[in-house]
């Protein structure tokens, strides 16, 4: 049975027509199901607990990256398959999963190619894309063997999927959500005009890792998937093959 979760921003009138067409498409494909609209008043954890008990096996998020990340954090605790129909802006996860426009995504959900992907875990919070460390000079204690200290001003992130700001990484097997690793990505502040000509030089650090602890002063903030803000110290680890996701043929992993 399919369960469809609509983000609250879809209550806007401009999406009414689009949602109606999506629902028609889903019905045509024979994968219609219960629809819930998310809101600050609705408890997502309770909703998913009730619905999985009632036999829901596929949870399809209709919304953007933020919606998907929010639902994943709860859905990871249940044995469900996740799907995504991207609507609105900021849909980079959909690109990574190989989903095109909303109607192609409906076809993808119907085709049901399922892949198991790794999730990251910060304390008790799951994340799919990345966490960003801001506001100071953190110390990353890695695998219990060594620690890593970036310079002040460096952008530090721990990634599962390829982040938007990462470019020219050369090797394609970084940021594969099925390799059982997270990647620490340390990027120095943007290069000056003249320095930017020397593109061949290695400037960023990429370190594959399974487990680390982020320590530092209280001014440091750790933001998970652009949502939850945590304070150090936090424990980060990869949870291999934790989530079942419906993907398209054009997926980037």
């Amino acid at each position: 049975m399919h369960l469809y979760l609509y983000d609250s921003f879809l209550n806007d009138k401009k999406y009414t027509n689009l949602l109606a067409r999506i629902e028609t498409r889903l019905t045509d494909l024979g994968i219609g199901g219960k629809i819930y609209r998310l809101s600050p008043l609705r408890n997502l954890a309770e909703l998913l607990a009730d619905e999985t008990r009632g036999g829901a096996q596929t949870v399809v998020v209709v919304g953007n990256d933020k919606t998907f990340s929010q639902v994943i954090n709860v859905a990871a605790k249940y044995d469900v398959t996740m799907g995504l129909i991207p609507v609105g802006g900021e849909n980079k996860i959909a690109q990574t999963l190989g989903l095109g426009n909303p109607f192609d995504a409906c076809n993808t959900v119907a085709a049901r190619i399922i892949e198991k992907v790794d999730l990251g875990k910060v304390n008790d919070t799951y994340f799919l894309t990345n966490i960003i460390v801001t506001g100071g000079r953190p110390m990353l204690e890695c695998e219990g063997h060594y620690h890593l200290t970036p310079q002040t001003g460096d952008q530090v992130s721990i990634c599962n999927l390829k982040p938007l700001f990462a470019s020219n990484l050369g090797q394609i097997n970084y940021f594969n959500p099925q390799d059982g690793y997270l990647e620490i990505l340390v990027q120095p502040p943007r290069l000056g005009f003249w320095q930017s000509f020397n593109k061949s030089a290695v400037t960023q650090s990429i370190i594959p890792i399974k487990k680390l602890t982020i320590k530092g002063k209280n001014a440091i903030s750790i933001i998970t998937d652009g949502q939850k803000v945590l304070k150090p110290p936090v424990a980060v680890e990869v949870v291999p093959k934790k989530l079942k996701v419906i993907v398209g043929k054009g997926r980037l992993f």
Partner: protein, 146 residues
């Protein structure tokens, strides 16, 4: 940026890059290739290849399969196969490797041991015995031997 060493088909180890802005302290172990442009102190170990950039500073014991050094290293190095010191390399420590290539201008201060290890008499005899035993076994197990 291109990978420094050619990948074998099916190799799934990921290259680790330590950039110039990062300091690493402790026992650094990686499954895949390592590229170092920053500062490392402690020890570095990989079963694959190591590249030390010209701006890198390393105060560590190093162990790798192959290495290309262009930066500064203070510590002992054990390389299984090839070690190449480029003209900008500054190496202060003992070196143990199979094949050593030193570029003109490279600094190397320390004991250096390159080439196959010399076997003791006992080891030679043991290896000879093993080969004889193998040959003997092969002869007895030939299926169509008349």
């Amino acid at each position: 940026m291109t990978p420094m060493f050619k990948k074998e088909d099916g190799a799934d180890e990921i290259e680790t890059i330590i950039g110039p802005s990062v300091q690493v302290e402790g026992n650094f172990v990686a499954n895949g290739d390592i590229v170092i442009e920053g500062t490392v102190s402690g020890s570095i170990k990989t079963e694959k290849n190591l590249k030390v950039g010209a701006g890198a500073k390393i105060f560590a014991e190093i162990s790798a399969a192959n290495a290309v050094i262009a930066g500064e290293i203070q510590g002992n190095i054990t390389i299984k196969d090839n070690l190449e010191l480029t003209p900008t390399a500054r190496l202060f420590g003992d070196v143990k490797t199979k094949i050593l290539v030193v570029g003109s201008g490279a600094v190397l201060q320390g004991r250096c041991s390159a080439g196959e290890e010399k076997k003791s008499k006992l080891e030679k005899l043991e290896s000879l015995d093993k080969t004889k035993n193998k040959e003997g076994k092969e002869k007895t197990t030939l299926p169509f031997e008349s």
